[in-house]
């Protein structure tokens, strides 16, 4: 039987969790750990060493997000097969062109503040999106030249919709 290994990444740390015949090992160190059954599939309850942790999770294809003891965590969990797949994919990604600036929430584009061809800096305001009656400025996460503007003033956008492409 193949060893059951999961990689859990949180912020800049990664933990390797291995399920072996004689127990659970985290980064090679044995750790008494077991799941406690719950009625709610999205409610994780586990005994880890001498603590019972219980927290509901939001899981999508990319990440697991959850609040535990008043702190928020965003984690990526992969098994070995997924890890191999991902490393192959990301090797190909380098050739992709341009950075996209996306709408961070659903709302209305009040004003696009750049034009095609503008040279912009990291942190510069790109567009103003109104949501819940508040104006929110969307800023560039990196610098470059504006290559394409995909929205116009007054347009409704979904979360994640591309506003502007920078090269």
């Amino acid at each position: 039987m193949k060893k059951d290994i999961y990689y859990v990444r949180m912020k800049d740390r990664e933990f390797k969790v291995a399920f072996e015949k004689d127990g659970v090992f985290i980064d090679g160190v044995p750790l008494p750990a077991e799941l406690v059954p719950t009625a709610h599939k999205a409610f994780v309850k586990a005994r880890i060493h001498d603590q019972i942790l219980a927290f509901p999770i939001d899981q999508n294809d990319e990440e697991v997000r959850f609040l535990f003891s008043g702190r928020e965590y965003i984690a990526q969990v992969e098994d070995e097969r997924q890890r191999t797949l991902h490393s192959l994919e990301s090797a190909g990604e380098e050739t992709g062109a341009g950075v996209t600036i996306k709408a961070p929430m659903p709302g209305l584009v009040v004003k696009v503040e750049v034009n095609v061809g503008d040279s912009i800096e990291r942190g510069q305001g790109i567009a103003v999106v109104e949501a819940m009656k508040m104006e929110n400025e969307v800023r560039a996460q990196g610098g470059g030249i504006v290559k394409d503007i995909r929205v116009k003033d007054g347009q409704a956008v979904e979360k994640g919709e591309v506003l502007v492409v920078i090269e």
Binding site: F55, P56, E72, Y73, P106, M134
Partner: protein, 502 residues
């Protein structure tokens, strides 16, 4: 007393008002939009009327639909909560024309205080200190520049009909004023339907202190002490508490008297709040009066023991304020955390979604005023505040520790919330010290929060728990389930005989 009242609001404040109604033996009537068909507040009422589509302008803000529901239900009075129609003097008049009672101040007082510029004029003549600045709206950017030059930068541009930080811009130097002016005006227009902007001197490091007022129709006015609301993120209150560590008994008495004077100056009736700025030298200035119940009213209720909504209803029904100023004896300390559906890790962006899991804290000293339940949808149409968590303690330290304990107990999934940020703030040494002002969050805590170091030991345990769960459930649990089940496709309107939703 009324036998039935309509609550012209939604979410936590509608539920909070309905709870007092039930305790007083008053039937409560909810109104709800199509987006709120599955919401909690219609369930909590004795009656509920669908009044229109999701956009507030076609439902919660639509005079006619609200009044139609009131008439259909036979309600005798309307409680507006806060937001929506709560500070709309035209609505107050419309309510009275419909022979209903508005639970709040007279239209005149509301209008006077609703216009920040008029309020400033009124306060000045009543002898209540105001912040240096204009008492008129600014006709143009050049007028703004002129006024700013006169009182000196930095200045604050504010919507004359504003509130809640909307339509407000800080201007540090002249070259920024034009852009700020148009942005503030645009936001003000969108939020309040009026783009009048005035200008105030930006006080360096003020605290935001407000006084709770109760005034009856017979000329009795008292205050119920202060609330410290200096913990704000982009002019939005995050944490509120009472008493304020910044007030001496003398200052409290002086400011309280000024607040009562302010209420009297505009002929105020019902519950209201006089907001002040307090500078580092102990000088205070009238900021504005909120002519309604305040979001943070529970902290006052917890230390005074007084149910403010009960008094709102009694006063609206014409009863005399039997509470005397000398009977108000606050006990202990209370603190509130506003819980918003916001993505704190991506810069506090409003979040939408379904509350897939919810388990709220309780126990000694904890009060939760919530607007949601498991399964609730947080839609983009309304304010993202989902709950208020309030803690009482014998001392400030006990209240803060209780709130922290309760924030840690909170279990919620489906939408990210501001819980981590609230916890970070109240456990920060700057907050504990009491030595802070309205700049603390924006200038220090926000950035620090983003850089909170990891806790490897807890993360190790959490990682192991996650790996176990993923191993058992597969790499994707089905969070979409709820959305599907709650979707409107499941709706079957079988009742065709009721008129109001046509």
């Amino acid at each position: 007393m009324f036998r039935k009242i309509l609550v012209a609001n939604r979410g936590e404040i509608a539920i909070r008002v309905m709870r007092t109604c039930r305790e007083m033996g008053i039937r409560s009537v909810a109104i709800y939009s199509e987006a709120d068909r599955t919401a909690l507040h219609p369930q909590m009422a004795d009656e509920a009327y669908l009044i229109g589509p999701a956009p507030a302008t076609e439902s919660y803000l639509d005079f006619k639909r609200v009044l139609d529901a009131a008439k259909k239900s036979g309600a005798e009075a309307i409680h507006p909560g806060y937001g929506f129609l709560a500070e709309n003097a035209d609505f107050v008049r419309a309510v009275q024309e419909a022979d209903l009672v508005f639970v709040g101040p007279p239209a005149q007082a509301m209008q006077a205080m609703g216009s920040k510029t008029e309020a400033r004029r009124l306060m000045k003549s009543a002898g209540v200190p105001i912040i240096p600045g204009t008492q008129q709206a600014l006709a143009s950017t050049s007028k703004a520049k002129e006024a700013a030059a006169k009182i000196g930068y930095p200045v604050l541009l504010k919507a004359a009909l504003g509130g809640g930080g909307k339509g407000m811009r800080i201007v540090e130097k002249e070259e920024d004023i034009e852009r700020a002016f148009s942005a503030a005006a645009r936001e003000a227009k969108g939020a309040f339907g009026d783009d009048n902007i005035y200008l105030e001197k930006l006080l360096p490091g003020p605290r935001h202190i407000e006084f709770q007022i109760l005034a009856d129709k017979h000329g009795h006015v008292i205050h119920l002490g202060e609330r410290e609301c200096s913990i704000q993120r982009r002019h939005q209150k995050v944490i509120e508490e009472t008493p304020s560590v910044a007030l001496t008994p003398e200052l409290r008495r002086d400011m309280g008297n000024a607040a009562v004077k302010a209420a009297k100056a505009c002929g105020y009736v019902n519950a209201g709040t006089v907001e002040c700025m307090l500078d580092a030298n102990g000088n205070y200035y009238f900021l504005e009066m909120n002519t309604r119940l305040q979001v943070e009213h529970p902290v006052t209720e917890m230390v005074t023991g007084i149910d403010l909504v009960k008094w709102q209803l009694r006063i609206a029904a014409g009863e005399k304020l039997t509470l005397k100023q000398e009977h108000i004896a606050p006990r202990g300390h209370a603190i509130e955390a506003r819980i918003y559906a916001e993505d704190v890790t991506s810069g506090f962006l409003p979040a939408t979604g379904f509350v897939n899991f919810l388990r709220v804290p309780s126990g000694p000293g904890i009060r939760e005023d919530s607007g949601i339940a498991e399964g609730s949808e947080i839609s983009r149409h309304y304010d993202p505040m989902i709950s208020k968590l309030v803690a009482w303690g014998e001392t400030r330290d006990e209240a803060v520790r209780r709130l922290a304990r309760a924030l840690r107990e909170y279990r919620i999934a489906g939408v990210p919330t501001t819980i981590p940020f609230c916890l970070f703030v109240i456990e920060h040494p700057r907050f504990s010290s009491g030595d802070f002002d309205t700049r603390l969050v924006d200038e220090e805590l926000h950035r620090e929060f983003m850089e909170v170091p990891a806790n490897p030991e807890i993360e190790r345990s959490v990682a192991a728990a996650l790996a176990l769960a993923v191993k058992q459930n597969g790499s994707r649990t089905n969070n979409q389930r709820m959305k599907t089940e709650s979707s409107t496709s499941g709706w079957k309107w079988s009742g065709r005989r009721d008129g109001i939703e046509k």
